[in-house]
Amino acid sequence: MASLTHPAGAQAHAKHETSPWRLVLNWLVLCGLTFATFGLSTLNMSPGGHLAAALCISTLKVTLVVLIFMHLWHGEGSNRIVFVTSFLFLLVLMFFVMADVSTRFTLTNSRIPPMPKVDQAMLPDGMPPAMSSGGPRRTSGPVGNE
């Protein structure tokens, strides 16, 4: 007897037959993609290119795991919506924060001068540099061209 509030979904999920070989094939593809990511990282690309390539392949791997190992391909619509929605909001958070970081008045961005090796040992124990009397000061030393 179909549930009255969930007519098609539950049945759709219950009935599909997954051959175990489909899972093994998925695993082989995923391992292959792992080696591909590694291989791509050894190529000579700009940092942005590396990042983009890595993220593309990762997204592809995640999609495969989610659709096949986690059965979302045959799953109920509500489960798919949940997963996609959480990812979308991750992107919302990411977008606005990165937009802020990249368009801010640059002198408010994080920067620290390179750590002078000697000074580190002279920091009193347990005190962050801001509260110690001698330590790298944020405003001292030019960093970058801003």
Binding site: L4, F96, A99, D100, A130
Partner: protein, 553 residues
């Protein structure tokens, strides 16, 4: 006697207190502490949130008493900082966020859907104990070390302060888990446990608002969880993620914190709006005006609320691009709220008003939501916020929403549903008096704060210049009125629990689905699977016997 319960079944002449109901079904302590019944869990939550409300109120009175005079009055500066931190944390995490979902959501959501319980009753009980554990941890941290950062824990102060932040942060993390579990439970309940015939657009509006709230709880709270972990780790291990001296970015903290904390205010306000949708129909004896618009606007508020958090960072140093974007988007929330207000007023129009205490709270709610909301839109204007940020203008704005709207919603629901939950009526005279005190007291407390903020008095300041004294005194006087009103409510509700007049199944003549079950309801809610033959909030063709509503006095 095998016909399903229809919605026109009649109560016998004279209200009858049912013999067996959820309150006396098992009277041992164990049967209460290990209950799976959503109604008993709601009562457990009710006791805890009322204690939290009392505590938060005590801290508020200490703050207001301190601010009675420009200089030191009662306590010293560090204690004052601890007081507003305590007030904020206790009120927000221990009262505002769990109250309406935990009490009325737990109690009424299954009944309104025709279900016998929530989807995962054991996880429901777990959520209560997680809430208690988190609250205990947070309070212990606040008492032993005394966090003085404000409830917003801005870095780098919170990560470098010598006060005991770590247990407070972990306590908040644990309470967050409770919020997630509750939201998760409600979403699954709404999706899978609706009785036959209860389609999405036949659900009561309270359910829609709880649904929207639960979505926010599930999506936003984890980010707070991570942020509290990061702050606790940084404070304990000296990580420097948010500390500019170590290359960290304090604005990153604010982004992560407010990504939760702004939608959190919608977690607080949406359930109150849902309560008002229920009570406004009952007390104007009229169908809701614009059911779909109200239902959809709840989801709209939930959605847009996620894109607005940067308005808390206008003066913190975020980029102008972000500030502009967040400012514009923040105003969109006003659109959805306005839709609701117009629809509620449309419900009142040509309705047959019954002026009871819950209705008095509805009036308060509408007035304060509009004013609080409009000042919110004003604050969303970046150039204006530059003047108002961190002043009492902001404090007044959010208290208008949190106390003016949410608390009025809570009180309206508490009075409306008191007969259903406990089978007895409260004394209407005392309730109206208390409602009057609360509405007046609220105005007296917070309107001066708008003026103070606009005149430049900063928030979280222990002392202030002489010229602000008169308005501060007025605000404290108002707070005392508020407190007095609450004390009166506490007394007559407690007395009515035992000595109130027996209510019967439907003393208000309301057409909400929950009024079809006995008051108090049996443990199982329904003997058979219920069939709801009318729409939600449907007031035309009222049976004769339901048309008269008597007062309880």
């Amino acid at each position: 006697m095998t016909a399903p319960i229809t919605t026109t079944s009649m109560a016998p002449a004279g209200p009858v207190f049912p013999k067996k109901h959820y309150l006396n079904d098992g009277t041992t302590v164990r049967s209460w502490l290990l209950t799976h019944d959503h109604k008993r869990i709601a009562i457990l939550y009710l006791i805890s949130v009322l204690i939290a409300l009392f505590l938060g109120g005590v801290f508020a009175m200490v703050i207001r008493l301190e601010l009675l005079t420009p200089g030191p009055t009662l306590i010293e500066a560090l204690t004052y900082n601890r007081m507003f931190t305590l007030h904020g944390l206790v009120m927000i995490f221990m009262f505002m966020i769990p109250a309406i979902p935990g009490v009325f959501g737990n109690f009424f959501l299954p009944i309104m859907l025709g279900a016998k319980d929530v989807a995962f009753p054991k996880w429901n009980l777990t959520s209560y104990y997680v809430y208690l554990a988190g609250s205990a941890l947070m309070l212990w941290g606040l008492i032993t070390g005394g966090a003085d950062t404000g409830w917003t824990f801005y870095t780098p102060y919170s990560t470098t302060t010598t006060t005991n932040i770590a247990p407070v942060m972990l306590g908040v993390f644990v309470i967050g888990f409770s919020s997630i579990l509750t939201g998760l439970n409600f979403i699954v309940t709404i999706h899978t446990l609706r009785a036959p015939g209860v389609t999405w657009f036949k659900m009561p509006l309270f359910v829609w608002s709880i649904y929207a709230t639960s979505i926010i709880q599930v999506l936003a709270t984890p980010v707070l969880g991570l942020t509290t972990l990061l702050v606790a780790a940084e404070h304990t291990f000296g990580f420097g993620f948010f500390d500019p001296a170590r290359g960290g970015d304090p604005i990153l903290f604010q982004h992560l914190f407010w990504f939760y904390s702004h939608p959190a205010v919608y977690i607080m306000v949406l359930p109150a709006m849902g309560v008002i949708s229920e009570t406004i129909c009952a007390y104007s004896r009229k169908n809701i005006f614009g059911y779909k618009m109200i239902a959809m606007s709840s989801l709209g508020i939930a959605f847009v609320g996620f894109f607005a958090w940067g308005h808390h960072l206008f003066t913190s140093g975020q980029s102008a691009f972000d500030a502009g974007a967040f400012g514009a988007i923040s105003m969109l929330v006003g659109v959805f709220t306005a839709i609701k207000v117009f629809n509620w007023v449309g419900t009142l129009y040509k309705g047959s008003i019954v002026f009871t205490a819950p209705f008095a709270y509805i009036c308060g709610f509408l007035f304060f939501l509009v004013f609080g909301g409009m000042t919110g839109v004003a604050l969303a204007t970046v150039s204006l916020d530059v003047h108002w940020q961190d002043t009492y203008f902001v404090v007044a704005h959010f208290h208008f929403i949190m106390v003016g709207a949410v608390m009025m919603g809570f009180l309206s629901g508490l009075h409306y549903w008191f007969p259903k939950m406990f089978g007895r009526k409260y004394p209407e005279n005392w309730a109206l008096l208390a409602a009057g005190l609360i509405v007046l007291g609220f105005n007296a407390t917070f309107i001066p704060q708008f003026l103070l903020g606009n005149a430049g008095m900063p928030r979280r300041y222990y002392e202030y210049p002489e010229r602000f004294a008169a308005l501060n005194v007025a605000s404290t006087a108002g707070a005392s009125l508020l407190a007095f009103g609450f004390v009166i409510i506490a007394i007559y509700l407690a007395v009515s629990l035992k000595y109130g007049e027996v209510a019967g199944r439907n003393p208000w003549g309301s057409r909400g689905y929950e009024w079809d079950v006995p008051s108090p309801p049996p443990t199982e809610n329904f003997d058979q699977v219920p069939v709801f033959t009318r729409g939600p909030h449907e007031y035309q063709d009222i049976p004769e016997e339901l048309a008269k509503v008597g007062h309880a006095i």
